[in-house]
Subunit: 324 residues, 4 copies
């Protein structure tokens, strides 16, 4: 078991990988991601469309799956290496977590499937197919996965996933002790228990977030976040969303927690999508001490005073099972 | 005759209106303007395509005309009102300028055609058709002509035209004395004669520029410039041009003269196109005194030290005649 | 009397000039404008400090006057020329407006003093002293009044003034018929009467705004606005204000009306100050038709959905008399 | 010995820590870093001034040392943990590198001193003093080391160091095999040997760069780079440098290699300083394959076509010894 406070511990997970999203309106959702967000459709089968962000070195970033309701599917996490993958799956099994192996996920090699304590399905993998640009999106510079789209929000990559959960303490322990994630910031309730926890895997400020579900529901998605290069692109994206009739929930503004510049919209299927930019902020200190915010501090609103709107505490979309 | 130094003189011209551009590769040029610059095709006839920038209140901004070579056609200038139009045409005629009337220009009412002393064809008009957005580009906000495209450079509007000319003093007099334009900045040669002159019609820093043609050729185009809302959009446009294989001539950088942030590219037909942003800089002083730059100052390069590249002094495209 | 709908009418006012502001805490207010806003102190006498924005060609932009309470003093408006000044004062007198002459205003020549119908004191002038940079703020480029400060919000210039008024229809008539301003946008109540009116003098989207005072009070200031070159500078200014403990009222966000990107703070004395950026948006059409917004449209909030906060409808600071 | 191509290798170095810089004009250099770059003076002793960037969690970022000529002193590198520090020093000694211990470096605990193969002095450390803001730079948000300065370029942190070296292959081996750095990009000469190599330690695109010294000199500094949050801040910094008379060598522009947006200036002492921004670009792939550029590719110039200027290949400042 890893001690998350030990700076010498190995960081066995590299990053949040591709993710599955369900939508009752697949064509509208696809058009949203392509036209407004700037992703690119790279593959399509019976019930799903695979989309790619231009800076993702992997072959796809989001798989949109047609289903009767919106929701989140499996989150794939890339291990830091083949030994790291073996170590992590061993540790999960040793801790009594059910882990099954799967080798039919598009673009990934062997994937080890498990659920977090709240039930969100995850998958660890090492082998991965590289993105191959074709004539229509070949970049001029060889250090870039695909050409800059010049379309909509031009999101660069998947940034983080924020899950709603019914039991923060149990998931928090799972994240730090088993997955070896590091808690960079948290909200602590008056009873001393965490209400929301932000974890990173490398130098990013965070990659995975768990937020207490005020509705008491188990296992939902709060939002999926995509990074842009600038805050200006988020401001411009707001104009794109406005003209497209996309529901803007809140923002653009700056979070006090993690200082992320944000904009939240609902994609046509109903899932909440964030556009985020952290500027050049990184967590470089290996012994970064978790920043704790009280509910009173939280009640002050966002960094520049914006009050958090009601739906932000209630709207979520459930976990649904994919066939992967 | 107007005294350009009299702040109380009337400003009878409102702005630089639509403009005609010739290209030997009309489809490629059209794709450049639509995909990379963010304009929209609004009408097409036998030999031309009419394109619109999203903030232009008029029905079209650029008419691309198929021709065996690249070049500039007629520049239309909107008068400040119907009486201003009458005054201006009277003054032109009184000064011996040939003025003919034309009423078949798309989207414009009566147009009074004339040439500047170097031969660049122009047209004055007052009546104009408003841009009508349709379902695919209807803006959410009613104070905007069309939806924000979210495509390529997203240029907002035509900003200015820079003509090459064989006789600066004569054109300069025409601009100030007859057209009533105000010279906001100029380059003065060691012999005291102007080498380049920047004119504005309202509060913009400039709308029309005349540059001495070092090749001695009469009557060419140096470039057509389009304004973006931010410098960041110009930086992003550079990425779009890079990936599209568009020839970037120079920039992004900041001119010392007028302080414009610029990027110059050649559209596929060969005409030089500028993307420009002036920040919030405006000429608000009605008695603004012309800023004069010496050749020595000019030799220092652009604002932040970039040297002016050779092709900037030689490349130009000729005036061609349209059938309008 | 000018017909505001006649595009051929003369525009006899050039821009909103310097303005006076009262504050009960002059040193704190001065520190706010210098350290946080980026203005420069250029002169100080017994009870006032004169401050300059780096792109103002005039010798001062804001005069801060010590007084027991916050408030707005006189707004100076520059005429478009000496004949325009004479014409305008004649028209005001002919309309029965009391106009007195004054020649002791710092940096201005003869000033013609009058009040708008609600009582806001104004002054028309033509002669003006140019800003003279000294060794500590001499700009590298000769087309700039002073060096770029590189301090706080780096505001470029005074942009506009928004007055609260008890009688919109009367002030509206005064602005258009007497001052010759053009109403570019307005909010129209269900009874057909205007609730707020935005006027411009040149190509800017607006220079003077009148908003109905919901508290019924006569003659107050809603806010004074300063322009930045980019929206990014407004985002950064929000960080500066946050760290300085300055009260951020609302924003950064984008107005639906006029599309201005905004941030509202209270300077230490209590006056509301806006930072604004319009991108490259200008009103170039000489026959721009006033855009009218209904209360229902207004109730939708700002461009990207932000609700207008309560204090925005109630907080204002009164007109106080200066000794100028 | 570490295999740099093994994704499972430990990453024992966390980041590039504080650094020493020599200058013959200490007061001018200090004023440059404080007024133009936005650092803060935090301590001063006989011959040196310690400066801090606002997002550095450590007590100082750059130590400016008065000396008869400009140059680079020691670069401190923080280990990823106490065991990592022990492992690294053991490995260095095992490889025959002279390592001495030192415990009098301001703000650092035990430091293990050694030279890279070309002679650039370095120091590894784990224990470090945290930055303590005081009343004049206390940030409003607790997840930030110091208040945002709102001054000059507002650089967030030291980003990377680029050393000139006489023997790239030997230093390259040292970096990857001994320090465990990962080569993310490189320039390869026609003879197959590297001409410049970029290494990262975590997810940043690079932290340490070695460039072949065309003058054949051993052991110099090419430049020290500081990160800003946006490209816009670099554009604004260029204005600040212009007005301050600081020598701008080249930029702002975008490197093809690593895609960094850059601006190079000389601080008054003569050392080359870069301002850089990578957008949201990170190296998340644990098995990132080194991108290699040929000399022919390099000859094309920077990303958007800017030619590399001559002084960029010749100007450098030597290593000097500090007394630490």
């Amino acid at each position: 078991m890893t001690d998350p406070h030990d700076p010498d511990r190995r960081r066995d997970l590299a990053h949040v990988g591709p993710v599955e999203l369900f939508t009752p309106v697949p064509e509208e959702s696809c058009a949203f991601f392509v036209q407004q967000m700037g992703l690119r459709e790279v593959f399509r089968d019976n019930d799903s469309v695979y989309l790619h962000t231009w800076d993702d070195y992997q072959s796809w970033t989001v798989r949109l799956i047609a289903r009767e309701q919106a929701g989140i599917g499996r989150t794939y996490l890339r291990a830091a290496g083949p030994q790291a993958l073996a170590r992590k799956t061993d540790e999960l099994r040793a801790a009594g977590v059910a882990v099954t192996s799967e080798n039919s996920v598009r673009g990934l090699g062997d994937v080890f499937l498990f659920d977090d304590p709240d039930g969100h399905p995850m998958g660890l993998y090492w082998d991965v197919e590289r993105y191959q640009a074709d004539d229509s999106d070949r970049p001029a510079l060889k250090n870039q996965a695909a050409a800059y789209p010049g379309r909509g929000a031009n999101v660069r990559r998947l940034d983080h996933i924020n899950y709603l959960t019914s039991d923060i303490p149990r998931t928090a322990g799972f994240l730090t002790d088993l997955l070896g994630a590091r808690c960079t910031e948290q909200i602590i309730k008056d009873d001393g228990e965490p209400q929301a926890v932000w974890y990173n895997l490398g130098n990013k400020t965070y990659d995975l977030v768990y937020t207490e579900d005020w509705t008491g529901t188990r296992c939902r998605l709060h939002h999926l976040a995509f990074a842009t290069d600038t805050r200006e692109e988020i401001l411009r994206a707001a104009d794109v969303f406005l003209d497209a009739g996309t529901h803007i929930e809140t923002g653009p503004h700056k979070h006090a927690i993690q200082q992320t510049f944000f904009l939240y919209v609902y994609e046509p299927g109903g899932n909440r999508i964030e556009l985020c930019n952290a500027g050049a902020r990184l967590i470089l200190a290996p012994d970064w001490e978790t920043i704790s915010w009280t509910l009173a501090e939280r009640a002050k609103g966002q960094a520049w005073g914006l009050k958090t709107i009601e739906s932000f505490h209630s709207h979520g979309t459930p976990v649904l099972e994919s066939d992967a």
